[in-house]
Each structure stands twice: as C-alpha cells, then as structure tokens.
C-alpha cells in the first residue's frame, strides 16, 4: 500500500501500527477488594492498627496459657506483687496473676465487641434494607418503611445507659445481659446507615438499568446493592466494635457489667482504684493501657479502612 508513496527519510514513513497495540489497559486488573488491600498496606497508621489488633486477638487466645497461673487462682500471700519474671504484669490484692487476668479480660471485651457488632449488623441490615428497599414502592412499601423508621426513631431516643440499668435489674448481670443491652439500641445506627445507602443506590443508574433488564429483586439486592454498601458497613463495624468494648469496660467499672470473679478490664480498673495511693501502679496501668491500645488499634485500622473503602474519599 505504501509503495506509491514518494521516497523519504525512514523516520517519516507511516508508523507501524504495532507501536500502538496493547497499550489500551496495561495496568493489572484489580478488583475493588484487591485495590482496597493495597491502599491499606500503604497506610502506616492502618498497618500499625492492624498489627496491634492481631496481637491483641492472638494474645487473648493464647495469653493465659503462657503463665502457669489461672485468672481466678488466688494466692493471698502473694498479693500486690510488682512486676517480676514470675508475674510479668504483677499480681492484684488477692494474689491473682495480672497477665492472666488481662488476657482473660481481653476475651470478654472482644466477645462483647464482636458479638454486639454482629447482632447490630444482622438486625441493622435487615431492618434498614427492608425499609430502604420498600420505600417508594407504592403505598404498602411506604407504609412498611415508615413503620420501621418509627421504631428506629423511638429506640434512638432511649439512652442506652437506661436500658442497661433496667436490664440488669430484670436479668442476671453478666456477659449475655451485657450483649443484649448493647444490641437493643445499637442496631439502630446501622439500620439508618443501611437505609440511607439503599435509598441512594436505588437511584443510581446501574440499579435502574438492572431493573429495566428484568433482574429479580433478590438479585438486585445481592449483586447490586449489598456489594456497593459493604465498604461502608465494614467501616461502621470497625467503629462500633471499639464503642461496645469501651461501653463494656465503662459499665463494668461502674459495677453494672460483668460480675466478679470474671476478669474484665473495667472491673480490674475499678478494683485498682483503692490501691493507687499505695503505689501499686500496675493494677490500674495495665487495664487502662489495654483499653487505650484497643481503642487506638480499632480506630487507626478503621480510619485506614474508611480511606480504602469509602467511595467518597478517592485519590
């Protein structure tokens, strides 16, 4: 074809089309989640948070077995011992090993945090999802939506402390009561977020397109709505878990939470109050440190997750 062109410099010949091939998309194809992991790995604070969290979780599982004492074993002769190679975190006034008690307490905290977050998640997604999906679908739909939202509003208005105290009166104070108390009002926030997300997503053109293509309601929810909310749901979870943990410590500190002899960071801190002046600093220091570290770890990791998962924070 180019034979009929006049003679010129080779450089000024028409370019070989091969130069421009395979240039369209050269970067590897990353799914949303792969991309998110990359973003988190690049975020220092998030990595620190993640490492701390992993350490706390691992130690809460194996920690108590690393020392030859159990969390409830008393030894009155060894009360209030400072840190030593026998008792790494010292002992309390009843001679119980603080290391063992700290990690036993960690279990309680994590169980409460994760359990109440999961309950929030299930109830919140169900109520918020139904409410948001039904809104705007005829009269019945709107009625279901406003009925559910009224419940949410009522619960939102009740202070959780009141609920906890009431429940403690009715039920036996303890782990289960605590989880129930925290979940009764806790799911409301999740429900609101999920409903808001669904309302927003429903208007998105890709959902309209799916509707127009004849995709079933179930598939629209599973393939279009849920995957696009997962980021925000996970971020919300990483912030509700530490809230629940803190609530547990706080309530136990006040004597409203788990009861002795079960170890909890809150009860340990409470027990330590009287001994501060006698110089047994480790009694208060370790529970307080653990509460702070856990809060920090969750929040640092949660912030990183938010940056990576929340579509509104691009770049």
């Amino acid at each position: 074809m180019t034979n009929s062109l006049p003679e010129t410099d080779a450089l000024f010949r028409p370019a070989n089309p091969a130069h421009f091939e395979n240039k369209q998309i050269s970067r590897p194809s990353l799914s949303f989640w792969q991309d998110a992991v990359l973003k988190i790995v690049k975020n220092k604070m998030a990595v620190i948070g993640f490492v701390l969290l992993t350490a706390i979780i691992v130690l809460s599982i194996i920690g108590p077995y690393l020392v030859p004492y159990s969390q409830s074993e008393q030894s009155l002769t060894e009360g209030n011992l400072p840190l030593s190679s026998d008792h790494w975190f010292g002992t309390d006034d009843l001679g119980r090993d603080m290391w063992a008690r700290i990690w036993a307490g960690a279990r309680i905290s994590l169980i409460i945090g994760i359990a109440s977050a999961l309950i929030d998640l299930v109830i919140g997604i169900t109520v918020g999802g139904v409410s948001g999906y039904m809104a705007g679908r005829g009269k019945t739909g709107d009625r279901i939506d406003s009925f559910l939202m009224r419940i949410v509003e009522v619960l939102y208005g009740i202070p959780y402390l009141l609920v906890v105290i009431l429940l403690m009166v009715i039920m036996e104070p303890g782990l289960v009561t605590m989880i129930i108390a925290l979940s009764i009002t806790g799911w409301v926030g999740m429900a609101r977020i999920v409903r808001g997300q669904i309302l927003q997503l429903k208007q998105q053109e890709f959902v309209l397109a799916a509707e127009k293509l004849g995709t079933s309601h179930g598939k629209i929810i599973i393939k279009h709505l849920l995957p696009n909310m997962m980021g925000i749901i996970i971020v919300t979870l990483t912030f509700t878990i530490p809230q629940a943990i803190f609530a547990e410590s706080f309530l136990s500190f006040l004597g409203l939470g788990v009861q002795a002899p079960t170890a909890s960071w809150g009860t340990m801190a409470n027990d330590a109050l009287g001994t501060i002046l006698s110089g047994h600093w480790w009694r208060l220091f370790f529970p307080a440190l653990m509460i702070s570290l856990t809060m920090f770890a969750f929040n640092a990791f949660g912030d990183g997750l938010q940056d990576a998962l929340d579509p509104r924070s691009k770049n």
Partner: protein, 340 residues
Amino acid sequence: MSRLLEVNDLKVSFRTYGGEIQAVRGVSFYIDEGETLAIVGESGCGKSVTAQAVMGMVPVPHGKVKNGQILFGDRDITKLSKKKLQQIRGSEIGMIFQDPMTSLNPTMKIGTQIREGILKHQKLSKNEAKEKALELLRLVGISDVEKRYSQYPHEFSGGMRQRVVIAIALACDPKLIIADEPTTALDVTIQAQILDLLKDIQKKRNSSIILITHDLGVVAEVADRVAVMYAGVVVESGTVDEIFENPKHPYTLGLLKSVPNLDSPDKERLIPIDGSPPDLFAPPTGCPFAARCPFAMEVCVMHMPDKETFSDHHYAKCWLNDNRAIKVEEMITAGSEQLV
C-alpha cells in the same frame, strides 16, 4: 497592545496514590491587553490545571508547579508569597468558575459577598462599596438590584448566580479574567446570555480574558486567539480564524470534524477521533497524539515534534509540517488513510 501575561514552559504534577500524574508538561502562551484567549481541550488535557497555576491555586499538597514562569507584568506568579497572591487575585485577576453554586457562599447575602470583595482590596467606605456593588450587579444585567442585593444565592437561578460570580470577579476592575468553563453548567439560552455579557464587559473595560473550555462553539463565538491542549501540551495555537480555517495539527482537525455542522444542510457522517487520550502517569515519549493520529509516522512515536511556525501567532507541534514528511494529500491518494 501590550503583553499582560506570559507563561513559559509550565510544568505541573500531581502526586496520587498510584504515582505521579504529569498534568501540564511544558505549556507556554501569552495574552495581550484586551484580548480573549481560549484554551481548548478535553477533560484531563491540563487546561484547568494551567488556569489554576496562573491563579496561583494549584491544590496543595498533592499538586506542584515543577518548572516554568508565569509572568504577570514584572512579577512571577510561581514565586510570589501566599499573601501577595491573594492580593493579586481579586484585585488584578478575577476568576469565574464552572459551578456558580460552589463559588458563592450559601450563607451570605449576595450583596455582602460582593461588598466584601470590594472592601478587601479598595479603600472605600461601606456605603461607597455598596454603591459600587449595586452598580456591578446592574452591569452584569441583574434587574431590581436593591432587592437582589439582600438575597441569598439559593434565591437565584443558575444563570443569575453566574452573573453574580462575574460581578464578584469584576469587583476590583481586574486586568485579567480567568473563566474556567463558565457556561458548561448552563442551558443554551443562558449560555448565550453569559457569553454576550462577557464580550460586552470586555469591550467596556478593555480587560483580557482567558477562557478555558471544551466547547468549540463557545470558542468560535468569543475568542480572539486559541491554544489547543492535548495531554498536557499546547499542540497548536493561533488566531481563531487560523485555527478554524487552517488547522495544522490533526488533533485540531479531528476536533473540528467530530462535531456536527449545523450550518451544513446534509446529514454527513461524523468523523470521530479513534481511541482515547494517553495515560499521564507515563506519558509517551513521542507525540502524545500519535496513537490516535491517522497520519502517524515512525518519527512521531519516538520524538516530540518541535514548534513549527506559520504566522506571527500560528504554530503547531506536528511532524507532518516538517518538510521531510509526506504531504497528507499524498497519503490519502496512496490509500493509506480513511480520514478525509
């Protein structure tokens, strides 16, 4: 006419997650007093970033002016302190943005916003400033100014808001107005009004306008000179007639050919530019348009073309204008291309 602004070899980069984007890669242009320069290009070509740089508003910390001068009179905008820049913006350079809603403060009355602008840069009493603000509102074609003066932005329609933004930009009689897509968010009938207004103001005040736009129709209506940007470089520049009548860069030609011509009676098939612009994370070493150019030559892939000058104002950066290149007409007769 004397030179008002001169930009030399401007380079601006942005650090992002994923690498550095070279948004502006060596842009030079100038504007004289009383002139309208249109910077045309598609999204991502660097035209808005260039405007930001001229206003000294490259977003920190991600963006950075890497090289070049922006001479405004005898001052280099890239070297001025924040305070000096603020003085220049608003008093000597006025700005009009695409979205009139975000450039107005929703919680402040329109009048107050204009008056504040005036008081910040001019020594006037409050009453004098108010008088001036009312006069500006009248100038931009707002009726019932006394009442409008004490209304909030949400009480104005999109077109009216853009008029207010223009009034604020004009508050201190700037020598240069930078308008970044000033009519893109507006309807056609409103766009026509705003363009007329800009032309009118320019005539009355002899100010210079840098108009950033993607719309060739807007360019054809108001520009004196045009700089066509592609992938962070100015590929062609000239007077508006030279660009429309005698484009020397295939990209300019492509842009002109890809919009339907209302003034031609027949329904002709549009001639699109195939492909899409290059990735500015790793811009090509040669001509950035080569991959989409129907006339690309070996040399285009390897070397960025130099400036080839055709008249006082008209130049293009394209190897086709090199005398070693085969004439486009000959390529077409040789059957190697489909572009007419």
